[in-house]
Symmetry: C2
Subunit: 262 residues, 2 copies
Amino acid sequence: MIGVFDSGVGGLTVVREIFKKLPDYKIIYFGDTARTPYGTKSKETIIKYAREDAKFLLDHGAKIIVIACNTASAVAADILRKESGVPVFEVIMPAVRAALSATKKGKIGVIGTRATVSSGVYETMIKKDNQGIQVISQPCPLLVPLVEEAWLNQPETKKIVRKYLQPLKNQQIDTLILGCTHYPVLKNIIKSRIGKKVVLVDSAEEVVRELKEFLAKNSGVEKSLGKDGSHKFYVSDLTPQVPKIAEKLLGRVVKMEKVEVG
Amino acid sequence: MIGVFDSGVGGLTVVREIFKKLPDYKIIYFGDTARTPYGTKSKETIIKYAREDAKFLLDHGAKIIVIACNTASAVAADILRKESGVPVFEVIMPAVRAALSATKKGKIGVIGTRATVSSGVYETMIKKDNQGIQVISQPCPLLVPLVEEAWLNQPETKKIVRKYLQPLKNQQIDTLILGCTHYPVLKNIIKSRIGKKVVLVDSAEEVVRELKEFLAKNSGVEKSLGKDGSHKFYVSDLTPQVPKIAEKLLGRVVKMEKVEVG
C-alpha cells in the first residue's frame, strides 16, 4: 500500500499523478482537514502533526510514505525517514532536481506557503552543489484558501496570482517551482501570467516520476505494496466542501471517511 | 478573570472592546492558532475544540467565558453553558438584538464564515420572534485569510469584499451583521461598499456592551473577576505572523505565550 498524506486535500494532486503513472497500486490517503492548513503554522507544530499523520498510514499498512505537502516535506521529511522504517518520499527534492535540469539562465523562482518559503529549503537544496544559481522565492499564502474555495478561474484569483508573481517576472526567472501541491490546479493562470517560456515544475508530477523509478529498481518494496487497485481516502474532518474540492483536485469522485488522528 | 477564546487571533477584537469598556479587569485569552481556522470545519470538530479551549480557560481561573468566535458561538455556546458552571457569553445573540433594534425596513444582511452561515443560527435567532424580517446571508470564507495576511487595504481585498457584498446590496439591506470577529478591521471597506446608510453591527462591540451590563447587575460575579489590570495571552501555535496580526487587531503590542491544548 502506498501511503500519502497532506495537511488537507491539496495532496490529492499527487494521488492523481499516481493514478496516471502507477495505476493499480493500493493507495491509502490521509488529509488532515481538521488541522489544515499547515503552511501558516510553526515548525514544531508541523513536525508533531506530520508524525501523527505518518503513524496513521503505517498503522493501516502503508509500506511507502509519500509526504504530499511541501510544508511537511520541508520540515519533517528527514525525521520521518529516521523514524518510520519505510521509504519516505517528499515533494521538495524531485522538484529541485527537475528545476536544476530545466533552467538555462540559472534563475529559478519558487512559490509556496509562508512556512515553506521561510524554511529556505528550496534555496538551500538548489544552491547546495550549484552556488551560481539565483533563487527568487515568493510566499503565496492566499492561494491555498482560494483553491480550497474552488475559485480557480475567478478574476480575483488572477489578480492575486498576478501580484504574487510580479517580483519573479521582474527578475526574469526561466523556471518556476510550484512549491505547494495545491498549485497545479492553477497552472494555467500561473502560466499565462509568468509567461509561456518559463518552465513550470510541478512537484506532484516529479515526486511520482521518481517514485515510479524507485519501484522499477526495488522489486522487494514494489511487491510488498499490493496491486488490487483499491484506494482508501481518510480525512480528519469532513465538511460538504471537502468532497467538492477533492473532486476538482483529483479529477474523479471518491469516497472519503472521517477518522481521528493525534 | 474574564476568559476569552477564539479559533485564532480574530477574537482579539473582542479583547480590544473589553480594554475600552471594561479596563482594569483581569483577562485571559486563548487563541487556537494551531488548529485555526474553525470556520471551514465540521460542527462535531468545532464542538470538540471549543470544549478544550473552555477547559483551558477554566483551569487557569476564568470566572466568565466569552466565546469570541462566531463559528464556535454558533455551534458550541449552549453546550458550554451546560457544562462550564460559569456564565458564558457568545457573539451571536448580542448582534441579533442590536440588528433587530437597528433595522427599519426589516432587511438584515449577515456575513460570516462558511460554518457560521451554514449553521443558519443568525437567521433562526432573528426570525424566532420576528417572522416578517428578511435575512440575507453570505458566506465570506476568504476574508479571514485576507485579514490574517494583514491585507486590510489591498485592492484585491476590496475586490473580494465587493464581490461578496453584491448580493446583499442588490437586496437593499439596511442593516449588516459582521458575523465574524475578524471583520471589524475591514469595517471601512465594508462600509464604503455596502453604502453609508446601512447600519453595521459589530459583534465584538455588542457582546462587550452586554457583558458590561451583566457585570453591573451581578456584583457577585463581578467581584470574583479581579481588577488588577493584568492580561495573559496564550496561543496554541506561535509563528512570527501571529504577533503582527495581533497588534493590528488589538491596537497594541502584547506578550503571547505558546501552550498545548487538546
